[in-house]
């Protein structure tokens, strides 16, 4: 069974640009989570999507947004990039049973975003 996949592996942008990160969940999983892992700040919850809808959001500004497609894949968009957005962005999926955000999450390898 294929795991969670993310693309691209690495992404280099300049300040002020937009970045788009993609995630494909494990087949059959309907929930997708996004996290930011910046050096020295640990794992920070960004967004949770379930059945195509945004269910929960962490304490990040509105320039961090995303969506979930009908096939349950997801996209994270970061607008007006700032230097401090440089981080590893992790996507996770879960079966999404009963819309519970505490199901076991299966993580992808991440996208390393560097903002110059």
């Amino acid at each position: 069974e294929a795991g969670v996949t993310q693309s691209p592996t690495h992404l280099i942008k300049t300040r002020g640009q937009q970045a788009t990160l993609r995630c494909s969940p494990i087949s059959g999983h309907t929930s997708v989570y996004w996290y930011q892992q910046a050096l020295g700040l640990g794992l920070q919850f960004l967004l949770w999507y379930d059945e195509g809808e945004e269910r929960n959001r962490g304490n990040f500004p509105p320039r961090f947004s995303g969506r979930q497609f009908p096939n349950y894949s997801s996209e994270l968009n970061v607008n007006a990039l700032e230097l401090e957005d440089s981080a590893l962005y992790l996507c996770a999926s879960s079966p999404g049973t009963s819309g519970d955000m505490y199901n076991e999450q299966f993580f992808g390898p991440g996208t390393r975003l560097t903002v110059l």
Binding site: V4, Y33, Y35, G42, L43, Q44, F45, W48, N56, G58, N59, L90, A92, M101, Y102, E104, Q105, F106, F107, G108, P109, G110
Partner: protein, 112 residues
């Protein structure tokens, strides 16, 4: 946002039992406590999850006191391959909504 705190690092030796505690004073009432393991250049991997008392699986045990304001991950008879960063994950109330909050992670080093 309320902090979820863990020791930054721990050292132990092969064959020992290791206990890592996470403090989560503002845990939401009905939410689970989950622990993850992360190796360098990989995403976190689920270890164990519980709501209260004690949970055990093939790799770890999780102890949760009655007030649920902390939890302890117990790794029996660790080996060198258990060297990794361990995170607790809980839901806390923030601004009237439940948010997922990871602890800052405990870097566990197992020595021969």
């Amino acid at each position: 946002l309320a902090k979820t705190t863990q020791p930054i690092s721990m050292d132990s030796y092969e064959g020992q039992e290791v206990n890592i505690t996470c403090s989560h004073n503002n845990i939401a009432t009905n939410d689970y406590i989950t622990w993850y393991q992360q190796f360098p250049s990989q995403g976190p991997r689920f270890i164990i999850q519980g709501y209260k008392t004690k949970v055990t699986n093939e790799v770890a045990s999780l102890f949760i006191p009655a007030d649920r304001k902390s939890s302890t991950l117990s790794l029996p008879r660790v080996s060198l391959s258990d060297t990794a960063v361990y995170y607790c994950l809980v839901g806390v109330l923030s601004g009237g909504a439940q948010k997922l909050v990871f602890g800052q992670g405990t870097r566990l080093t197992i020595n021969p």
